[in-house]
């Protein structure tokens, strides 16, 4: 479904990714783990069109999407739920969700998706009219995921959904991510610092170090890998 081949990305003169190749099959949950600054977020931003690679190619469902504007990538069916949630604090919960469905002009579909998101996260329905900025961290994360789902994506890019959130809510959010994958059939590429959680959720994983993929395997094997255990599972 998603294939990256030999992707290089530069920030000005500084190279952040070096020949990264990666595939995600339809229906999978794939995780990307690595330390701060390993290039995980850069990779997601490249897929969603906020950055363009200086070499290599990104293909989604067979077609090249590197160099495409972010709003066009969304229209292809990729939603990116960014690090730090980035919800619109002054828009209400409902308006945030409506913005997630910006590319969908048909009202009935927007309404159906709204109900689906409220079904997944009933708390959002309760807080529908509240400005997004007044929600707790966990609720904001639910909103960010819900907003990403409003576009009806086939591929969901999740960047650090556990960051800065109470442990209890993290469990809940990860359970919902699993449900999104199982019930909606949405393919998920998950970036996560908490390797325990990520490897527990995903089927396959990639380990990124200083801009390079150093390991890729099924998650159950990664969990047993001595290097991974030492570096990420402590």
């Amino acid at each position: 479904m998603l294939t990256l081949t030999g992707v290089d990305v530069h920030y000005g003169r500084v190279q952040a990714l070096f020949g990264v190749s990666l595939t995600v099959q339809a229906g999978e949950i794939v995780t990307l783990i690595g330390c701060n600054g390993a290039g995980k977020t850069t990779l997601l931003r490249t897929i969603s069109g906020l950055l363009s690679p200086s070499a290599g190619e990104v293909r989604f469902e067979g077609e090249r999407i590197d160099g495409l504007r972010a709003d066009r990538v969304v229209r292809r069916g990729i939603a990116h739920c960014p690090e730090g949630r980035r919800i619109f604090g002054q828009l209400t919960v409902r308006e945030n969700l409506e913005m997630g469905a910006y590319v969908e002009r048909r009202r009935d579909r927007v309404q159906a998706r709204l109900e689906r998101v409220y079904g997944l996260f009933p708390r959002l329905a309760e807080r529908e009219g509240q400005p997004g900025g007044t929600l707790s961290g966990g609720e904001q994360q639910m909103l960010a995921i819900g907003r990403a789902l409003m576009g009806g994506p086939r591929l969901l890019l999740l960047d650090e959904p556990s960051l800065g959130i109470a442990p209890i809510l993290v469990q809940e959010i990860f359970a919902e991510i699993r449900r999104v994958n199982a019930e909606l059939g949405t393919t998920i590429l998950l970036v996560e610092q908490n390797a325990h959680l990520a490897l527990g959720l995903a089927a396959r994983g990639y380990v990124l170090e200083t801009g390079r993929v150093v390991l890729e395997d099924e998650c159950r094997c990664l969990r047993e890998d001595p290097q991974v255990r030492e570096a990420y599972l402590g």
Binding site: D71, V74, H80, P82, R86, F88, Q90, E98
Partner: protein, 399 residues
Amino acid sequence: MSLVAAPLLAAPFPAAGAGVPLATAPGAVGFFEDLLPFLLNGFGLGAIFAFIALGYTMVYGIIKLINFAHGEFFMFGAYVGYFCLRDLELERVALPGPLPIVLDFLVALTAAAFAAGLLAVLTERLAYRPVRKAGRIAALLTAVGVSLLLQNVAMRLWGAQARAFPDPKAWSRVADLPEVARDDWHRDVAFHTDAGAEILEPRVEVAAGTRVDPALREALAARGVDHVYRTVTLDRDALQAFVLLALLLWAPLLWWLVKRTRMGKAMRAVSEDPDAARLMGIPLDRVVAATFFLGAFVAGVGGVAYIATYGKVFPLVGFLPGLKAFVAAVIGGIGSIPGAILGGLILGVTEMVLPFLLQRLAGWEEAFAWKDAIAFAFLILVLVVRPTGLFGRATREKV
């Protein structure tokens, strides 16, 4: 006999105000009676500032650019409105009462608004978009450059000289005037001879909205008059009421546009977090263009209202009102739509009423000559007390 054209248009208000001996009636009733016109004029002027301030605040809200060329969009709108009012002659359409001139004015406003909007979209596309990623200083300098460029283009196209509004060069044959009973709305039809002029004399001045009835036409013919000198006369009080009314209609409409429509919500999303908005599939460029269009559209309306109230259009006409509208936007809290409206009204009323009070109560005869200084001093005062403006939020830098 002298030119009697548009008595209400002839003198810009501050001069008229300064000429009135204000210190003669010390009684309280007299005081409020004297104050009232200043208050009303303040609201009229304030509404125009508000119209311009809306564009500053919307563009700033969305791309954090202080668009110094905004006053030139206003100027451009003013010129387009001027040409419409001068050349379209819609006031000759046979409609009852004041309707022809209202129609004339509405068409001029609409044309000015669209023209200013399109100029803004073009400017954004050609000048601002290429430097958007180059940082705020580069964008600001570009805006200053665009402002000077547009001023100079206007000078080349239309000359540096101020044109009186309305332009007294529009002539019509008496025979061409529609044969309708002269209405009572405008009575200021004047006959006059102009000794020094080389063109058709004597001439007759006919205010817009005036119908020439057969009796009048005969009277004119008896005096050998066959041409009229057409002016667009707008009642200043009616005009100011009209501008205020337009603002009262526009403000909720803009509010609705920004609060309820898909584009409005997208504008607010972009203003909060452009990157996150792009991830939602919101096309940044189109939203920015729409914001420029809307802001300049409103400024175009303000431009026509301004020249109709103050009587002159010239290439630099946008400078001072633009600067003051920027002040109004800052007073209201830049980025806030209700703030821009309130800031405009406050500044307009302050500019009119404060000099009046200083002259009347403090005996400062020259207060009206200092009105601009007073307005800017007021800005400084507001900013000392409330640095973020009345409706402004302290912005948090995102980490």
